[in-house]
Symmetry: C2
Subunit: 396 residues, 2 copies
């Protein structure tokens, strides 16, 4: 637990994180079990548990352990006094989700966005307005807001600036800094991350494939992106620009992409590309347009089936690149792809199996996301808990 150069605060945080981690895996459990399980001495565990009780992050239960001897007081995690807020900026609008630190959902709102053509300034104003309302609702419920994380369909650097979001028409927007300045709440940390990276976090923590060590989730509602968990950990890369599968060139000299190139997966098989192929354009109400698409697909409309089969084939080739490079155990179809999964899957499976070098696509399962509407904001609420899980207690 202790490294030679760590100062006292670091050691306390490391030990606190170890106690919280043990409780997350093993609770209910006694102080003695925590000491044995973490290798910390009993005095340290008693002191840390005391602080966690006082801060209402842990509570005692009357339950007793099932063995001989005097009954021990058992501990469980508590998180009901704290909450985080997750927000998603997408072409279909803004979504806000509030969860307490135990994972209980407090609020879930969707707002039609300011539109792709509105530019970053209007979107930032709309996000901050939504965040303020969410903070107010969370605080009215008696909880302290620990942080806000915002997901964006684009390249996000380590400072939370959006380097490029072709689907939104953004480049070089210092989103985190501008959101924090406009919000004006220095007590509430704001972070920004890629939408797919946050989405796969939700699946990895809460979905039916939770805990899968090599897990990928694809989203295609605005751009096409992949959130990637490798060996149990979120992939981050050198500067954070990972999972940009949307700009794999599948068809040399294919249709023009928002990024300025041609034949990218995104130009062939993103939701906007699919809607445009079916209807000739994108409506002002893409949500309604998607519902119509799903109804027509369910009714086996020939034109829609043809477009979805072609999109599925392109997605299968894109997933094959992920499979050949990363050998995931599960690839989840997220967002609108989840709603269209039964129509896309046959073509995806066929193309994937043809284009994967490993037999049986390296054992990869393709499935629909459990959170087609909320994976990104749900993952964002978990991401905003990161300082706490690393042992940094909330500001008082």
């Amino acid at each position: 637990m202790i490294t030679q150069t760590a100062d006292h605060t670091d050691i306390r945080a490391t030990n606190l994180a170890a106690v919280l981690g043990y409780l997350r895996r093993e609770a209910p459990c006694s102080r003695a079990a925590i000491a044995a399980g973490t290798g910390l001495n009993k005095a340290t565990v008693t002191s840390i548990v005391g602080e966690l009780l006082e801060r209402r992050l842990v509570r005692e239960t009357q339950q007793t352990q099932n063995h001989v001897g005097r009954p021990a007081t058992l501990l469980v995690l508590d998180g009901s006094a704290y909450a985080t807020i997750g927000l998603e900026i997408g072409a279909r609008g803004l979504t806000a989700l509030g969860c307490d630190a135990a994972g209980e959902q407090i609020l879930r709102w969707h707002r039609a966005g300011p539109g792709v053509d509105a530019g970053p300034a209007k979107t930032i104003a709309a996000v901050v307005a939504l965040a303020r309302r969410a903070i107010s609702t969370v605080q009215s419920s008696g909880r302290q807001v620990l942080g806000i994380t915002v997901g964006v369909p684009g390249l996000v650097n380590r400072d939370g600036a959006v380097v490029l979001a072709a689907g939104l028409g953004w480049s070089d927007v210092p989103l985190r800094a501008e959101l924090a300045a406009t919000l004006g709440r220095p007590d509430i940390p704001v972070t920004v991350d890629n939408d797919a990276s946050l989405g796969v976090l939700a699946e990895h923590l809460y979905g039916p494939y939770a805990g899968t060590a090599n897990l990928i989730q694809l989203t295609g509602d605005t751009g096409v992106g992949a959130g990637i968990i490798v060996d149990g950990r979120p992939l981050a890369g050198h500067l954070g620009y990972v999972g940009e599968i949307g700009h794999l060139r599948l068809v040399p000299d294919g249709p023009a992409c928002g990024c300025g190139r041609r034949g990218c997966l995104e130009a062939l098989a993103s939701l906007p590309a699919i809607l445009e192929q079916v209807d000739g354009s994108i409506d002002d109400d893409p949500q309604h347009q998607l519902e119509t698409l799903i109804r027509r697909a369910d009714a086996q409309d020939a034109a829609v089936t043809k477009v979805l089969t072609e999109a599925g084939t392109h997605l299968g080739h894109g997933i094959a690149a992920l499979v050949n490079i990363l050998n995931p155990e599960v690839v989840l179809l997220g967002g609108a792809y989840a709603l269209l999964a039964e129509h896309l899957s046959p073509a995806i499976d066929k193309a994937l199996r043809e284009a994967s070098i490993a037999p049986d696509a390296g054992g990869c399962t393709i499935a629909a996301s459990a959170f087609p509407h909320t994976a990104t904001p749900l993952g964002a609420t978990a991401h905003a808990l990161t300082p706490l899980t690393r042992g940094r207690l909330p500001a008082r």
Copy 2:
């Protein structure tokens, strides 16, 4: 260090690994420094260091620390009593490397291989013959052989079976089991891994980019493969089938690939593909053919330059897929690509920059491997040390 369920042997191994790891990073250092740096108590450190001294894995030096007080005996790693053997099976032949556990090279041999058409049985016999000679040479030098690791250009499963090696014409060869049975030395563990995965290990440990957290090495001598380090750790995926960038389809309906598909990167830009484009066929002596190619490229032969520029463009697109998905800090050109690097790099850089979605290719540097001939067997010698670095002492 201690987990609740670990038995005594596990705890000893974990603590031993911690002491060896600390020594690798910090030696020369005192027993007291090891205790402070690992969090182990002094009695445990004294006992472990005693065992390591007795097993000649550590030795004492007369050096003293540069501060007031009585001089402490300092410890350094020793590895001169033990060695591992790394072997590479490639289309250009077999390579064997022996290193002692301190990383000192003991032997390095290259043998013309039995040829791609010889089939697995002849190759296994040739590998075992080479391994026996290497074991004998290492033992004559007074060292104990800790293990043998063999690198193969293909998909290797967790049992060390080669599921598919298109460049060798192999499928479903239980290589590890057959090598171990033919060698008949149960005291010497044999492991098998993908050549590129072993090659990048050599770069990550010993090359000029050692320690780079997000590092990739490409090889193209037989198939085209990528060895991948993500966040400081070798990428393994669900079943071990990672880095198969050679079968990314770059040109729909392009030239036929050994895997049965068309237009794969490997069919366009592997060394065999380059040689065939230049000379119309692959010679019996591909090593000599490669040297001729390099001479002609150095002399700016127009036909060779054209082929290498096209191959570089395809490689740039393949590397762009890695960059868009993984955002590596460094991509190394390994094997024959390293020898051809100055001729391939301009086209690689141009295509990579055009096809990467992140500005400046996400900060990625392209460079030539430091070990064009020996990355795989060198990485294999390091891989064979894995049990020791995990704290399992050699058999007596």
